[in-house]
């Protein structure tokens, strides 16, 4: 794709021409790296160094290729040279992932031992801004121009080559402009806080200490931190060996999870479970039934429309706390603090309404209405069996609970599990457990509502991740928030005059390559290279 002239290896004596080309290729590529490595002893690396060195070296090599006798230009334009260069660039890209980039010198000594100083000396700590890399990109630029010069003039059969290579140059120029001319930095805003008029300039994500003035002012009107809706799950945890901080120990890790439903489920260990019942807003309600003997007294009351059973000594208060109803088999006493107390005695069958100004007693009558009908007396059971029943207050998932039935090797056990008090139900003792729990909170979006003002021009916008705001030549990106401070928003401000050219170049590369691969062969009359049409099936 990148370069192309008819290969020089096919001209003259193929073997010797090829060998000469290979030798010159090796000399140029190795030479560029060595010269770059030596030059950077004196010249510190950096974006400007990279761009300047690439541009100058590229033009020098190209110029030389036109004036130096021999095969320099055809070698530069050749497929062998370009492929060697591409591999060399790939090696640099790989080194950039093997060695940490842009860290303090001390870190290389600590992390890489004896190799640390060598890495720093060779500038492998900032490899993509070093001169050896600049040397290779310079050769790349020269190779593109040399191959274009040999293919001139443009024709329909070669236009794909030119489009792709112009694309490479345009994106390279855009990247260079971006690298040298772009300014980026952080703006920290607070809701209702000060207006920002400058950015703290950063390089490689770290602050440089410099500030850049914005041609406008910006303030944060509102900040939204939106979480995904809370979800619940039955998590299956299994113990496994984990390595952390150089130590190996056993810990439970989530292996799989199940939606809370009533279906039967199989666990990775082969055991089974199901949720027999699910209560979105779990509550226990007492269930009362008469007992022939051995029970306890119970009294049903309806207070403010809510009916419940009170057992011996129990009480219930009105929502405003102004009224307390107490039931006792013997005569109960009024609790302290309540302005009005209704004391129901089961044995004496009396009801005492006690206020600050005195008390009034009346006989207990089932179905009687007191206090203007706010309190109604229900059934009295001298001997009752009281048990708890699971239920739900509403269909909203406020306090989820469930009855979990576990089947381990044919042995069935049931257990109440509450998501707001998650506890493991062991499946295989000490090895695996099920937990009914709330899923971790997950951030859905963080958005800044901002107002940017430049003179009379005002822009009100919402900035979110993937939804930047462009204003007065700057683009503002949402990059940070503080979960503990909902008033804070971190923005990245970027002014990048090269980016449009980079994308234009990329687009041209795609277009040119597609044209070269699929249109040019047709124009040459060969059609797409493909095996001949098959004969009919035997």
């Amino acid at each position: 794709m990148v370069s192309s002239t008819p290969t020089t290896a096919t001209q003259g004596n193929p073997a010797s021409a090829g060998e000469r080309e290979a030798r010159l290729t090796a000399l140029l590529v190795v030479g560029a790296m060595v010269v770059g490595a030596l030059a950077q002893v004196a010249i510190p690396p950096g974006p400007l160094t990279l761009v300047a060195a690439t541009g100058i070296a590229s033009l020098v090599v190209l110029g030389l290729s036109f004036v130096v006798p021999g095969r320099l230009r055809t070698t530069l334009a050749g497929f062998r040279f370009t492929s060697t260069l591409l591999i060399a660039l790939a090696v640099f890209a790989i080194i950039g992932t093997l060695v940490l980039q842009g860290k303090p010198e001390q870190l290389y000594r600590e992390r890489y031992g004896a190799f640390g100083p060598l890495i720093v000396a060779l500038r492998f700590d900032d490899i993509f801004h070093g001169l050896p890399f600049a040397g290779l990109t310079a050769l790349f630029g020269a190779a593109i121009l040399a191959s274009a010069s040999l293919r001139w003039p443009i024709s329909a059969r070669r236009i794909g080559f030119f489009i792709a290579h112009v694309g490479l140059l345009v994106s390279g120029a855009g990247a260079a402009a971006s690298s040298v001319l772009s300014v980026r930095g952080r703006i920290d805003l607070f809701t209702g806080g000060d207006v920002a008029t400058q950015v703290r300039v950063t390089k490689g994500g770290a602050p440089t200490g410099a500030v850049a003035q914005l041609p406008f002012e910006i303030k944060l009107d509102q900040f939204d931190l939106v979480n995904y809706e809370t979800e619940y799950r039955v998590g299956y945890y299994a113990k496994e060996r984990v390595k952390r901080g150089g130590e190996v120990f056993e810990d439970y890790r989530l292996k799989t999870s199940f939606d809370p439903d009533l279906a039967k489920h199989r666990l990775p260990g082969g055991d089974q479970f199901r949720l027999k019942a699910i209560y979105p807003d779990f509550v226990t309600t007492p269930s009362v039934a008469p007992a022939a003997s051995g029970g306890q007294p119970a009294m049903q009351v309806t207070l403010g429309g809510a009916t419940r059973w009170l057992t011996d000594g129990q009480q219930v208060a009105s929502p405003d706390g102004q009224l307390v109803v107490v039931f006792g088999w013997a005569r109960p006493t009024a609790p302290a603090g309540a302005p009005t107390a209704v004391l129901i005695s089961g044995q004496a069958r009396t009801v005492v309404v006690q206020r600050a100004d005195g008390a009034a007693e009346q006989p207990l009558a089932e179905g009687a209405a007191l206090l203007g009908g706010y309190l109604r007396l229900g059934q009295l059971l001298p001997s009752a069996v009281v048990s708890s029943q699971y239920g739900t207050r509403s269909t909203e998932w406020k306090n989820p609970g469930a009855v979990l039935e576990l089947n381990v090797d044919g042995r069935i056990q049931e257990q109440l599990v509450l998501a707001n008090q998650p506890r493991g139900v062991f499946v295989q003792a000490d090895r695996s457990a099920l937990v009914f729990e709330k899923r971790d909170k997950e951030v859905k979006a963080f958005r800044s509502h901002v107002t940017a003002r430049q003179g009379e021009s005002v822009a009100r916008a919402v900035i979110a991740v993937n939804e930047p705001l462009s204003f007065a030549g700057w683009t503002l990106y949402q990059v940070n928030y503080n979960p503990d401070d909902p008033t804070y928003s971190g923005l990245e401000a970027v002014r990048d005059p090269g980016v449009a050219w980079v994308f234009l170049g990329f687009g041209l590369i795609c277009l040119g390559v597609a044209y070269m691969f699929y249109v040019e062969p047709r124009l040459r009359g060969g059609g797409i290279e493909r095996p001949a049409a098959p004969p009919a099936q035997p």
Binding site: P14, A90, T97, V479, E492, E529, P538
Partner: protein, 286 residues
Amino acid sequence: MFLDYILFEHPFFAATTLLYAAATAAYAAAWRSTRALVGQVATGLMVAAVVLNVTLVVGRWIEAGREPFKSLFESLVFLALCLGVLYVVMERLYRTRIFGLPAAVMAFGCIGYALFKWDADIVKLPPALQSAWFMPHVLVYFIGYAALAFATGVAVVQLLASRLPWVLRLTRLRAGTMLTGEPLDLDQITYDVVRFGFILLTIGLLIGSVWAKSAWGDFWVWDPKENWSLVTWLVYGAYLHLRKVRGWRGDRAAWLAIIGFAVIMFTYLGMGLLPTAEESAHVYTG
């Protein structure tokens, strides 16, 4: 016991895995059998596996409420689908089943590996991934990866054919399990498919940069994954150039295609092994 869980809880996944395994066996049998039925059965099994694979992806999409490419597990299932679909298209295009074995092995390998990378939970999309670029980026890259995997399969057959006479015969088989009677130009097929894959890698790289720009304000940050995507592009770029150089067709080109795919696999799965992994925003946590 884990398989028991998969069979009971995820029967479509189990069925897809079994079908890819069966297709692998059938395509392997088709390499040695002269009966056309064996090859037809292999194709049928592959198509069935692909159809079930589609249901897995669509099912996950519905269940997760988002594109199913977030985790390594999800991406492996999707890559298996891309491999399967691309192979079926190629089988029609080149009218041969000889590449069915490597294609089925790779699709089965992806699904099988997904078993070991099982998602403990379906996670939501973080804000950075909530982008219109997410789906086209992944789609283009994975179709590209599938194409280059296919090219690698062809390159492997090409290398085997130059060493094993019976494989060479297969590439020229007229009757029996293979559809075409014409000798296959394996080198040319590899080249054609690499060209197709290379265009997709280029578009994928472009989409990725545009997306990175819109999310973080920078189109290129020399992130390890970005670097390795660039390495992949450069290696295949070198392949396409070297093929025009005398002596770089045939076995050498096939080896280069295989090396290119090894680089893809490292880019896809090996980022966690890099000492700079902690600096990357692209490493799968699954």
